[in-house]
């Protein structure tokens, strides 16, 4: 193991595993206050963990183990709330730590899934996390009862204190935690009924805020190890290109430069990258700028040329069916009117604020990596593969992420850090990419287009709907084994039939249509796609909900009433839509231009009502968005509000500015000057209605992204009579039609 004294001084605790007492890296969010008069327990041996989910110290400090990653979405605090509530512990004494992926393997995956995506952090682990905490509580009570020689059933727990009812004796968790750790876990546990929750459902402050206000929070890019060198990398900028030559002698004598090395990333069969290792990162970066490199080969992909393929898919006879029913041909044949519109979604980049990085220490016996990752286990597998060492000889220390959004679910940057560190055995090397490198070598949200056709009868009723998606499948490239008979059902997020595939039940269509077809003509460019916050729900919401608005206006009907007419089978979807509309003042005769959107995604019902102003010059002001979400259970309402506001920034930045274009196989938008993101001046007021109806666990981080853009686009139509179907909006003229 590396000398981690520097880390320790920064507030990290790196466990050795020798005592089994502390594991992983303690996320630096210890209780804020320390009492000078507190009892001194330093003579006592440290307590062992009660169980995998909770370690309790003599002073009652509860350390909750968090397997999922914290990247800003608040899951760390939410999961700690789940544990603390079931444990009946004092919330003010809760802290957290990440058990390492290696420890998870050694303990037969006791913490289960480490992947942090798909808005699964809470909803995907709440059952076993709560059960684990309930088991720990039962063991603490049993230990107290044993000490007193009474029945555990006569004891109660609250706020880290156990009370024996008949005698009135009390003790604290810290005093019995050592004995509890020696007990066998209960064979059965019952978790609380939601009506008994005291910490779940409360708008608790995040546990990780304090260090984020002072610069003390350590991100991957900040890792500092004794003797560490710094590296930067340039991968072939053109898709599929390889390294032809480079002239290391031109930079080898520059200040600080240690080594210039050719690298083959895991996606290539030949060398396709060059890394420079130096004392300091700026020295490496400066040398890279000066290094003559020649690339060869590659794919001359161009987004403008790919348009023809997307257009072909819009009308192709062959397409995968995602959902449908009734007699669409009959509906179109008997239509009073047929409405048609074509929309697009450009490639997007995740553009996490923290550029890609990982720090690796390689020896012939062991490889350790410190990295911000959305999936510690896939990162560990990548370390093993890149180091060519058995996974038991590898370890990953998870660090808080400076943004993830799906980008850090891919472990390419971890592999590259290991490959670079292998060039310097025994020396830790931090590989930090430039912003440009991070942008060029993204995993891009795919580009698609959609042609939607709808038939109306003479009374303005929607009789038939055909929504055709044309474009890239994420799974076909990244996880081809997940295709089903060639179909990528994830393409249809938010549009799928209910009751078919339980794994996709959280991505189903809540509108009821008599005659309809939703299909996908797969057109795969050579661009590597990725899961981008909200994934395919984003464009599917734009396509469906822009078109629902177009249909309502064509039929001369109120867009709210028109939508509700098709939500009769989903009262929860109707409820969020109605709530957002009502709070916004939908239908008020106040001259405000409003637009609506409702979707179901990641297991949550979400809606938005946007208010916009467009002035005579065509300048858009998004004045306000009212959002409503029903995620079933709301673990931390104020963090849900934060996620809704934040998701709108992500979704609206894409709508306003987001577009990655390729020319000659190279991504052209390589920094924030050309891939802009919303600033505070662009930010609307956001009012969020959190309306948990109970009985299910829906997602939070992603679903609301999708409703922001369609609501704004529909409001722009209400303001101007202009229907924006081509994104990003920055290229559109919004002056009154």
């Amino acid at each position: 193991m590396a000398d981690t004294s520097l880390l320790s001084r920064r507030g990290f605790i790196v466990g050795t595993g020798a005592t089994g007492l502390t594991i992983g890296i303690l996320a630096s969010c210890a209780p804020a206050t320390t009492d000078a008069d507190a009892p001194d327990y330093s003579d006592l041996p440290p307590n062992e963990e009660v169980n995998a989910w909770a370690h309790i110290d003599h002073d009652d400090t509860v350390t909750v183990r968090i397997a999922r990653s914290e990247m800003g979405q608040g899951t760390l605090t939410g999961l700690a709330q789940l544990v603390a509530d079931e444990l009946d512990c004092d919330w003010d004494k809760v802290t957290t730590e990440y058990p390492t992926p290696g420890e998870n393997l050694r303990r037969e995956r006791i913490w289960r899934d480490y992947s942090t995506g798909g808005s699964q952090g809470i909803r995907g682990s709440q059952d076993y996390v709560r059960e684990g905490a309930a088991a720990a509580k039962a063991m603490l009570i049993e230990a107290a009862a044993n000490e007193w020689g009474v029945q555990a059933s006569e004891c109660t727990s609250e706020n880290s204190v156990i009370t024996h009812g008949p005698s009135g004796q009390t003790t604290t968790y810290g005093k019995v935690a050592g004995a509890a750790s020696q007990l066998a876990p209960p064979l059965e546990v019952t978790v609380k009924d939601p009506s008994e929750w005291k910490i779940i459902g409360q708008p608790k402050q995040r546990l990780d805020t304090a260090d984020k206000l002072t610069g003390a929070q350590v991100y991957g890019a900040d890792i500092q190890l004794d003797g560490m060198l710094n590296a930067t990398i340039q991968q072939a900028p053109k898709i599929g290109a390889t390294l032809k030559s480079f002239d290391a002698s031109a930079v080898e004598n520059m200040p600080g430069v240690k080594k210039v090395v050719a690298i083959r990333n895991p996606f290539g069969t030949e060398n396709n990258a060059v890394a420079i290792i130096a004392d300091q990162w700026w020295q490496a970066k400066k040398a890279m700028d000066a290094l003559p490199i020649e690339w060869e080969g590659g794919v001359a992909f161009s987004t403008s040329e790919f348009e023809a393929e997307l257009d072909d898919g819009l009308t192709s006879d062959e397409a995968f069916v995602g959902n449908g029913g009734g007699d669409l041909q009959g509906a179109f044949a008997n239509a009073d009117r047929i409405i048609e519109a074509t929309y697009n979604m450009p490639f997007q980049n995740h553009a996490c604020m923290e550029p890609m990085n990982a720090t690796a220490l390689y020896t012939e016996e062991r490889c350790e990596v410190w990295c911000p990752t959305q999936n510690g286990e896939s990162a560990l597998a990548a370390v093993s593969e890149a180091s060519d060492l058995p996974i038991e000889q590898c370890e990953v220390y998870k660090i808080h992420l400076g943004g993830g959004f799906g980008r850090r679910a891919m472990p390419d940057y971890v592999s590259l850090a290991v490959l670079v560190a292998k060039e310097m055995p025994g020396t830790p090397v931090k590989l930090l990419w430039t912003r440009e490198e991070s942008m060029i070598h993204g995993f891009f949200h795919p580009t698609t287009k959609s042609r939607v056709r709808g038939s109306l009868d003479a009374e303005g009723n929607l009789t038939g709907l055909h929504l055709r998606i044309s474009g890239q499948s994420i799974l076909a490239t990244l996880i081809p084994q997940a295709l089903q008979d060639g179909v990528d059902y994830a393409t249809f997020q938010g549009l799928l039939p209910s009751g078919v595939d339980p794994r996709l039940e959280d991505q189903t269509l809540k509108y009821s249509f008599d005659n309809f077809l939703i299909d996908h003509a797969m057109r795969n460019p050579p661009v590597r796609p990725g899961f981008w916050r909200g994934v395919n729900l984003n464009q599917n919401a734009i396509y469906l909900e822009s078109f629902m608005d177009e249909l309502a206006h064509a039929a001369g009907r109120d867009p709210l009433e028109f939508r509700l007419a098709h939500l009769g089978d989903s009262p929860k979807a109707a409820a969020v839509l109605q709530a957002a509309a009502d709070r916004s003042g939908w239908g008020n005769d106040d001259g405000k231009a409003r637009g609506l959107c409702v979707m179901y995604g990641f297991g949550a019902y979400v809606a938005a009502c946007a208010e916009v102003t467009v002035d005579d010059s065509g300048a858009l002001s998004i004045d306000k968005i009212v959002a409503a979400t029903d995620p079933g259970h709301a673990v931390n309402p104020q963090q849900i509000e934060a996620q809704v506001e934040g998701s709108f920034v992500y979704g609206l930045s894409a709508m306003l500015f987001g577009e990655i274009t390729f020319e000659d196989g190279i991504a052209q938008e390589q920094n924030f000057d050309t891939f802009n993101s919303m600033r505070i001046a662009d930010m609307p007021e956001v009012e969020t209605i959190v309306m948990p109806s109970g009985g299910f666990w829906g997602g939070v981080g992603e679903p609301t992204i999708a409703v922001a853009a369609p609501a704004v686009l529909n409001a722009i139509y209400a303001a101007t009579g202009k229907r924006v179907r081509q994104l990003p909006l920055k290229d559109q003229d919004l002056r009154n039609a």
């Binding site: 610069g215 900040d222 604020m353 400076g402 943004g403 912003r435 506001e645 992500y650 920094n671 600033r679």
Partner: protein
């Protein structure tokens, strides 16, 4: 070799004149609260103060300093996170991933040094930092709360 005054301390650094102050602060001085985001003064995550005014350190060369300036980083903004902006940020629980927040806080604190009671238009014009998690709505509320606390 250059001598700088950072957070009230005098430090000697050994870097070439064209090294951006961001990397001098991070790699020579060892203060990593100031972050690298874009390197082209677009995102503001590297914001520090020079004599109280916000500066994007990623494009500010070491050689442009004469050594007399008072440089302040997020680590030196206050003792114990007591600056009104930090207090407001804590109260409203503003950071999400938090990577951009040192720069955001320094940009806001710098604005308030010059303009203790900014209008919404002032905020729009002066706070142009990028936050991809999307804390912008709370940042505006935080600025107003910080004004009250100051």
């Amino acid at each position: 070799m250059a001598t700088l005054k950072i957070n009230g301390n005098t430090v000697n650094v050994d870097a070439e004149d064209d090294t951006p102050l961001l990397w001098v602060i991070r790699e020579q001085v060892g203060l990593t609260g100031t972050k690298y985001g874009c390197g082209i003064a677009q995102c503001g995550t590297c914001t520090i103060h020079i004599d109280g005014s916000p500066v994007r350190a990623c494009v500010y060369p070491l050689g442009a300093l004469n050594g007399d300036e008072e440089i302040t980083t997020i680590e030196g903004l206050s003792e114990g996170a007591s600056h009104p902006v930090q207090q407001a940020w804590a109260e409203l629980d503003i950071p999400q991933c938090g990577y951009c927040q040192p720069g955001m806080i320094m940009a806001v604190a710098g604005m308030l040094n010059d303009n203790p009671n900014p209008s919404d238009e002032d905020i729009d014009a002066e706070i142009t930092n990028i936050c991809r998690c999307g804390t912008l709505a709370r940042v505006r509320k935080g600025i107003k709360l910080a004004v009250e606390k100051a």
